[in-house]
Assembly symmetry: C2
Homo-oligomer: 370 residues x 2
Amino acid sequence: MTDLDFMARAIELAKKGRLKVQPNPMVGCVIVKNKKIIGEGWHHEYGKDHAEINAIKNCKKKYGVKKAFQLLAGSSVYVNLEPCSIEKNTPPCSNALIEYQIKRLFCGTLDPNPKINGRGIKLLKKAGIKTSVGLLKEECKELNRIFFTNQKKFRPYIILKSAQSLDGKIALQSGESNWITSLESRKNSHHIRSRVKGILIGRATAEQDNPSLSVRLTRNDLGLSVGETIIQPAKIILGSLKKSKKVSNIFSKNAKIIIASSQQVKKSKNVEYLEYKKKNFLEDFLKDLLDRNISSILVEGGQKTLNTFIVNNLFDELVLYTAPIFLGKGSTDALKVNAPDAIKNSMKLKMVKLERFKDDIKTTYYNENL
Amino acid sequence: MTDLDFMARAIELAKKGRLKVQPNPMVGCVIVKNKKIIGEGWHHEYGKDHAEINAIKNCKKKYGVKKAFQLLAGSSVYVNLEPCSIEKNTPPCSNALIEYQIKRLFCGTLDPNPKINGRGIKLLKKAGIKTSVGLLKEECKELNRIFFTNQKKFRPYIILKSAQSLDGKIALQSGESNWITSLESRKNSHHIRSRVKGILIGRATAEQDNPSLSVRLTRNDLGLSVGETIIQPAKIILGSLKKSKKVSNIFSKNAKIIIASSQQVKKSKNVEYLEYKKKNFLEDFLKDLLDRNISSILVEGGQKTLNTFIVNNLFDELVLYTAPIFLGKGSTDALKVNAPDAIKNSMKLKMVKLERFKDDIKTTYYNENL
């Protein structure tokens, strides 16, 4: 196995934390001595041990504490993200690596967090550890697209999702929109829900559809073990929604509820109300969400809400499910932004993924490279 | 090798004729004796020998005439389409199979041509040849989707093509439409052109864009040998287009030009003018095209023309190239048909192919199963 293989393994391990680590990044760590893996681990859950610590623990478990000490001294560590240098919920990992006298560190990328960015590496270098940054850099950045966006843009990672007909419509004039896409597409969209910390819709859509906004998948679907909890994302409503029978599903108590508005609304229990001035509403609100550890949101509609995010260039990813049907003239357009003056000046996304669910297609676009 | 393998090989051979056999079907033929292929062939070009005859010739070439006679007697023949029983440009293949005393015939499907449909098989059976119809039936039908459509619907196979933005637009309000999609997508669309007998556009698009409507690919791109001709599809204009500088590319002489209209137009040389009454215009015109051996057409726009074909349910395939850009409000919609009264009553296509060209996607839909 080469350095690349060990880093690829670290990335693979990191992904095991995908449903539980946010707002932390996914991190995996592989410790190697004489070209053999002697310990590996990953960050399991927000607030719990980091990947490096888990890999050291894994080594101790495999070889016993005494032998592990001997093995770790002089070993090489592969980790997708720079080891932390500050104490937050857990002691900094850099210290542990120094303490166990590792010899060499390969990390995929620096930590974009301005409080760390390079400081972890500096600390290790100072302690005589040889460090290399940049192995599988692009893969490591892609892995933590959410975390990098949080750190660089000071807002949640924003995914816009729409389910549309072949002619780009999301509802008939009557408002009918259930269902445009296939059961398979809809099930897949619950996987996106499972990876975000909040699902956001506009008030009008809330009142029209009374959606549950929950992850409706089994542990098996999500690759979770028996007994593991399915974490439900927060339900976030944009606009002054009042509690009523009409929106009973939203106000069911399976997840945190957040209502953000520029108007005062009648408060109800178990709901968090956020009020902002109209000016900079979205920016203020998004910064606030991140402060509440909501590091990623899925915006599911309606048209007005989706397009508000597009027009303000406040999105990182666009997911379109397209069904092979025609909804025709007069139906509601999925995307309705202002026209550019010339084609070459139009907003251009990057296509990253193409999937098929029965007769539907799913296309995933990034708005910008990190 | 099994019967399935031999039929699969026949289909593979048939495809070699894809650029030159229309309005004939693609046909491949494999002759087997003692589980060994002793001859194979395909229909190369409209008006030339059929696959069965070419397979017999191939056998003679490989083994010499005398030995071939011995081998062919008692052999099994695999062919994707029923051998013909009528003389048109070439003597009927059924006769040859009888003459050479083959023992067994496997064919994928019956010939949908009402003049043949089962008559070839009947002839062979009568001569004591054991026949099986239906091996790889779906694949054989799919292979000759164009031919089956011609025979069943008495009109050309119709492919609608559009190049659109992510929000389903084909041009800005200014009319600007060059280019929405990538060079790679546009190159791919020339491959579709190479497989049809005619490219159709509306008069307005002709005057707006002055397109060449030609296959701009190299022999190499098309898998042709040095010296083989690249066949240019006919240029078909819907509406009373007059020859002028504005449309000079269309009137260049590299292909047949057909102008179909319900109005009288000033005639010019080298152009075929078709006139129809407004009532049943499309039906009469399409039947006429097929009578002229134009067995497949690619409709490339504009919006009005494309949607006329959709609304009249006169299409077999829809190909959409979608670029990751937004053209916004006020730009021209690619697809603009009437809305259904309910989602369940909307026109529904079948998704058959999903491809990617750089950041563009290409989706291919069938309107109906054959």
